[in-house]
Symmetry: C2
Subunit: 156 residues, 2 copies
């Protein structure tokens, strides 16, 4: 498997990358591109993940979201264990083609492996006085499913 399938154009000039119609995704030094996944209906940010060229090709071919897991070093169809697959309704690329936006229909109750609908269930305290460590607050953090049951391992 090559890292640069003919499916994708090689990046051209800045003008071509920003104003052209050729898809030339810019993979980083590890061969990955950042993907922001949002709910297609509500726009809610669900998660951030990464794709390598193979995951991107599979997503484009099938319409289901595939990613590359850095921690497990493997290609991964979102929901392959949990059943919480993501049907990609629309994919967008940003101006310099180094980030993707996936608008998905999230099957099942949630996208996060901790059991929440979204991975973004904590806020960061802003305008923290200098010298104090920054704390988090839980918001929208109710569990939509029991990760222990869904993934077949204890939550803690």
């Amino acid at each position: 498997m090559t890292n640069k399938p003919t499916l994708f154009a090689l990046p051209g000039s800045t003008e071509e990358v920003e104003e052209g119609q050729a898809f030339s995704p810019k993979f980083d030094a590890e061969g990955l591109i950042t993907c922001v996944v949002v709910d297609a209906r509500t726009g809610e940010a669900l998660m951030v993940a990464h794709m390598n060229a193979a995951a991107l090709a599979k997503t484009i071919e099938t319409g289901d979201a595939w990613f590359y897991s850095r921690s497990r070093a493997k290609l991964w169809r979102k929901g392959e264990t949990s059943g919480h697959v993501q049907r990609v309704k629309e994919m967008r690329v940003d101006c310099d083609q180094d980030a993707l936006l996936l608008k998905v229909e999230q099957e099942g109750p949630g996208a996060c492996h901790t059991g929440r609908r979204s991975c973004f269930y904590r806020t960061v305290t802003l305008r923290q006085p200098a010298g104090q460590s920054v704390s988090l607050s839980f918001v929208d953090a109710d569990r939509a499913f029991d990760p222990g049951k869904v993934y077949g391992k204890p939550t803690k």
Copy 2:
């Protein structure tokens, strides 16, 4: 300037990172963390950028969005040239603390240096037959401002 100000906790166990209230952002090998910026009012995805520890500290202290520009290798207050600053209304961190979500009030007409409101102004064609190169379509791509005037250089 150290890369790990005392402002941020060092990552602990998975349980602490995912279920704790200590902010322990996970910077990558380059010392950066991915930030997704969305409109606080509409939820629209505006851009993806990166912060180093200094940019993150400045954002938390001031409430304005600061990033680290990889191409220019410098700290950068969003809008410092264009005037299109981003007031951070809420910041969230994801489950494993390696991505940030910024809900911002975008000042001025747009976030993208190409003149659009959002950097995501092109869709990627899905379910492309194998072997054909993937194309982009322009959507929501009308210019909200003239980048040549705002940045003081020609658009092309």
